[in-house]
Symmetry: C2
Subunit: 172 residues, 2 copies
């Protein structure tokens, strides 16, 4: 027996998007209890030329909905990166989860060596579906979820690795 | 057709460990060109109670060798976290790669629903092999590689997302 492309992509996006939402909730509660403006969290960045928390959440959303769409042969829903409040940022995650949840195993599974093309500003990257998931989409997706976590920690949020790994919903 | 447990674990660990080594090399060259002490990179952390770069590299190594060992039914090689220089940190990654490279598909593949137990200080976590890879080991491994990247960026290293995703070896 083995895994499917669906196993390695859709449930992983959903698991980590839900954990990301729980991380944002915990950081919000802490900021409100301490009189910290949520904008301070939203604008935080690790280096001047890195994306802020807003950008990290948008890019985590893009990685999940873009990956889910490419793997299932659909066009991802447009989300125009206009989030300007913490509530809008949380809504972005919820909208992304709602789309990814619609994807079925039947839409994703099939030849794991089929070609997936990913246009970039400078050239088109070409992957097998397997490599697209394991060597591009998941690393990119985890990159943005982890960087969002790092920004919240950098700003003092009382969150820990288990929040990142298993979220608020699973007792450990 | 579908993926194997081996596909979803061993080549992913190796891909990202090699990218991490390339990130450390680029940051080292930049630090040396700018007269920055390598210890400043090694001791960097995003929050006072988070691990330093040394710890992030050690934990990325632990995640990869521990995951590879558990999936293949072996005891991971002991690496006692004594790295005190940048060269020793790079050697830790090289030693980890050397171990993970010895793991074969035959050692890893089999029932993806077999039970893997992971003792922690407070309780033993129980996973199917599939969930161990996709919902614990890879998230944890990517967490530490990404946080190492974030620390290097935070300290001004001239690295970018493509270094993280495809490393120094793959032209993009």
């Amino acid at each position: 027996m083995s895994l499917t492309l669906y196993d390695a992509s859709i449930p992983v996006y959903l698991h980590m998007l839900r954990n990301l939402a729980a991380l944002l909730d915990k950081a919000e509660a802490h900021a409100k209890a301490n009189g910290t403006a949520l904008s301070e969290l939203m604008e935080a960045r690790l280096a001047p030329d890195m994306h802020s928390l807003i950008g990290q959440v948008q890019l985590a959303s893009d990685a999940a909905k873009g990956g889910a769409a490419r793997l299932s042969g659909q066009t991802p829903p447009s989300m125009p990166d206009t989030e300007a409040s913490y509530d809008e940022l949380k809504a972005r995650i919820a909208k992304t989860i709602a789309f990814v949840e619609t994807i079925t195993p039947e839409q994703v599974n099939g030849d794991e060596d089929r070609i997936i093309e990913l246009p970039t500003p400078t050239r088109t990257l070409t992957f097998t579906a397997k490599d697209f998931v394991l060597k591009f989409s998941l690393p990119n997706f985890f990159f943005h979820v982890t960087t969002a976590y790092g920004l919240l920690r950098h700003k003092g949020a009382p969150i820990g690795k288990l929040d990142f790994l298993v979220g608020g919903a699973v007792p450990v």
